[in-house]
Symmetry: C2
Subunit: 119 residues, 2 copies
DNA sequence: CCGAATCCCGCCTGATACTG
DNA sequence: CAGTATCAGGCGGGATTCGG
């Protein structure tokens, strides 16, 4: 058991660990990434729909954040040749599984609150 | 199964969920929180030790971030009446369990890389 | 409709110096 | 040692305008 913990600590210390952690942080960072992901959890949406769904976001920010998420492989963008053009955004498979990360974050916070209030 | 997923979605939509998520985000945000937590994972440390351990952090930032983490119940501060004063920082119980959140973030990132490279 | 380009501001952060 | 004080710079992000 002791040796197991040491192995885990080594793993946690590795460069790979830190790099992977950064990947996840990049999906989270900024003010709008999570609201966008949250909105897309319910299915594909168009640009304007997202803009309406997410409170107070400007098209500039929405565009920038969507591009980030696309580069990170979390969101997929599809353009349809209609006039005017229609663009749809949806979560990739990885994007869909991201809720598991969020769930753990929430779980920790809830337990943390209980532990903190106990004092 | 379908009904279960709906319950989960409702849960994820609730105000409580978002608030808890924010709690966790506050523990993560900024450039220095995770390095500090990581450094304290190996045991209690004094201010100067942390400053030496964490690359390029200024005392100003270290002080501020430690104060944040203390307010969030993740770090505990102990002052000893020596001359000159000795101050030790250590993770609270919640702080120690936080690695479980980090592990899940890393796990997601690793799987995400595999899925993305497959294409 | 779907953005790109531009301008601008606040605050977060870094650097440096100083105190109990 | 363990921080605080002060100033300056950069960058995230808001507002607005314009183009395909």
């Amino acid at each position: 058991m002791e040796i197991i913990n040491q192995i885990d600590e080594v793993k946690r210390c590795s460069v790979q660990y830190v790099l992977a952690l950064n990947d996840t942080l990049n999906v989270i960072n900024g003010k709008w990434k999570l609201p966008i992901i949250g909105s897309l959890m319910y299915g594909k949406k168009r640009f304007k729909e997202l803009e309406r769904n997410i409170d107070k976001i400007s098209p500039r920010m929405l565009s920038k954040e969507l591009k980030d998420l696309e580069n990170n492989g979390v969101v997929e963008r599809t353009v349809y040749n209609t006039t005017p053009v229609t663009v749809e955004y949806e979560l990739t498979e990885s994007g869909k599984t991201f809720h598991s990360v969020l769930d753990v974050m929430v779980e920790w916070a809830v337990e943390h609150r209980e532990r903190t209030l106990e004092l």
